[in-house]
């Protein structure tokens, strides 16, 4: 493991510190998330998985809580296990240690209360039109049917400004439009939490910046809760209200900090915060370079 003993002990004390900060949530079966208690509670989650030759620890005892209406961003360099962590929240992977609770319920399998938006463009089903893609989860989970499903799907397609393309097939859309459809599909389900796994990473810089603005204006309108994973520090500062920093290989919590207020992502504070995050994330590498 690359993290030295000093780092490990620091992370451990951080974790215990957080536990002390929220003793009220412990020992209660269903915390009242409406009154500011966590909607999503990740407690001491260690993720391990096997490849052909190795047993890999992706994250080590990661803890954090997401409140209702949070734009919670997990940021870290590649290999810090942030995607693995998000898949665990999605219910696709089980933690080897610790637990994840949504509204007090333990997460054991994927479900439509946590809709995932992926980075890959093939998350849209190519055999369905844009409208059918958005309506598919509504119908297939039995949430809504018939006219109601139609109205809900069209409502969210209008929100992402793609109502005119509702009868197009995904392969005729640009990358940015595909991601907007995926976001509309996720939001149409009105899940407890939207999980976004670097959804803008495959887009060009201009489209990416526009998509970030659109996501924020959607949030202003609907105030959904989102857990967003990225490796881009500026994206984290722009999109998040709360930022979790993970150290690389295995991912451990480095810090959990507030971002700058909305609309100030170009201010001096934002730049200072960016430098601070950068220094924290890459401190190990600087030390390693010095040692070598």
């Amino acid at each position: 493991m690359t993290g030295g003993p000093a780092l490990a002990s620091k992370t451990a004390s951080d974790t215990s510190g957080m536990k002390q900060a929220s003793p009220a949530t412990r020992g209660r079966a269903a915390p009242d998330h409406e009154a500011g208690h966590p909607l999503l509670d990740v407690r001491g989650v260690t993720m391990r998985y096997k490849t052909q030759a190795h047993l890999i620890t992706a994250t080590y005892r990661v803890s954090f809580s997401v409140l209702q209406g949070d734009r919670f961003v997990v940021v870290g360099p590649s290999g810090c296990g942030k995607s693995t962590l998000l898949k665990a929240v999605g219910g696709y992977l089980m933690p080897t240690e610790g637990e994840i609770r949504l509204k007090g319920e333990r997460i054991v399998k994927p479900g439509p209360d946590r809709i995932m938006v992926f980075q890959e463009f093939d998350q849209l089903l190519p055999w369905m039109t844009v409208f059918e893609n958005v309506a598919f989860p509504l119908k297939t989970t039995g949430t809504l049917r018939g006219k109601q499903a139609y109205e809900r799907a069209m409502h969210y397609l209008e929100k992402v400004k793609l109502a005119d393309f509702s009868h197009s097939y995904p392969h005729t859309l640009s990358g940015g439009m595909k991601q907007r459809v995926a976001i509309a599909r996720g939001m149409a389900m009105e899940p407890d939490i939207l999980l976004m796994d670097e959804p803008f990473a495959a887009l060009d810089a201009l489209t990416r910046s526009r998509m970030q603005d659109e996501l924020l204006s959607l949030w202003d309108e609907i105030r959904f809760t989102v857990l967003f994973v990225t490796h881009s520090i500026p994206e984290a500062i722009k999109l998040g209200n709360r930022i979790l920093l993970l150290s690389p290989h295995p991912g451990q919590v480095k810090a959990e900090i507030n971002s700058v207020p909305r609309g100030e992502e170009n201010s001096n504070e934002a730049a200072a915060l960016g430098r601070e995050i950068h220094d924290m994330l890459f401190a190990d590498q600087i030390e390693e370079a010095r040692d070598a």
Binding site: P110, G111, I115, F118, E120, D122, W127, T140, H171
Partner: protein, 288 residues
């Protein structure tokens, strides 16, 4: 030499779209005609027919190669008096039963294969054994088991269709992207609903390819089997028609029979499968 920092900033006015002579221009008629695939293919067919006709006349031996015109005459006569349509229908009926049964069995086998590891092993072992085995080699056994008649034909057809389709379906199911699978599971899809709503459409290009291969195998197997014995309840198929005509030295009729087989094959390929492709994989952008 100009120093790098001496270069001035340059700003330009761009022209509006109305100030261009040509942005889009339709192709000429000749170009448009040449771009039609079916027209090019028909041209090829006409050339082949001409070569055949000329060779037939030059050879002047209708017992070996009757000219194209004689074949067409025989074809028109036998289509007119209902012989060929009756024989063709009899073949197609058996073919469809065999093909449909084989496809359904292949589907069941593949679903079993993807749902368990032992199922995968089973399918892989079975296809490894039986795919290289020509269906026609099973005909003698089939005759003993099912007797002279449609039963034996359907048995060999199912054998010829099933393995090719299963192999393609399995490859298609395995090729479904992890993202598409995760999307399906996100919406609580599992079991047969997952297969029907995610796996089958996502693997449809492979499944369709499998159906095409299966169809070609079935058609060949059927004609070959009918040549060996074609009579079921007093009425044979196209293979039997060819065999009969040859025995009576009606060689133009033999060619007419072959031509019918080709025409039906072409029709299924270019009309039925093309139609399905245009409605599915091409519309979905899974195939260009």
């Amino acid at each position: 030499m100009l120093e790098a920092d001496e270069r001035p900033n340059i700003y330009c006015e761009t022209l509006g779209p109305d100030q261009f002579g040509i942005i889009e221009k339709p192709l000429t008629l000749a170009e448009q005609i040449y771009n039609k695939v079916w027209l090019r293919k028909i041209a090829i067919l006409i050339v082949l027919a001409l070569v055949w006709e000329l060779y037939g006349r030059w050879l002047d031996n209708p017992l070996l190669v009757p000219p194209f015109s004689a074949t067409i005459r025989a074809l028109v006569t036998d289509v007119g008096n209902g012989t060929i349509p009756k024989r063709a229908l009899s073949s197609i009926e058996v073919l469809l039963i065999g093909f449909a049964t084989g496809t359904v069995l292949a589907g069941l086998l593949t679903v079993f294969a993807i749902s368990s590891r032992i199922g995968t092993d089973f399918l892989e072992t079975m296809t490894a054994m039986f795919n290289p085995l020509p269906a026609i080699a099973l005909l003698p056994l089939a005759l003993i088991w099912f007797g002279l008649g449609a039963g034996s034909l359907i048995f060999v057809l199912v054998h010829s269709v099933m393995w090719a389709i299963s192999l393609n379906m399995l490859a298609g199911f395995r090729g479904v992207s992890t993202t598409a699978r995760m999307v399906g599971r996100n919406y609580n899809l599992s079991g047969l609903r997952f297969v029907a709503k995610i796996l089958i459409p996502a693997a449809f290009p492979s499944i369709l390819a499998g159906l095409k291969i299966g169809w070609a195998f079935a058609w060949r197997t059927l004609i070959a089997a009918e040549l060996v014995f074609g009579v079921s309840s007093g009425q044979g198929g196209l293979g039997w028609y060819i065999f009969e005509s040859k025995n009576q030295l009606d060689i133009p009729e033999v060619f007419a029979g072959l031509l019918t087989i080709i025409l039906i094959g072409l029709a299924v390929e270019n009309v039925v499968f093309r139609f399905i492709e245009a409605r599915t994989v091409q519309r979905w952008g899974m195939q260009t």
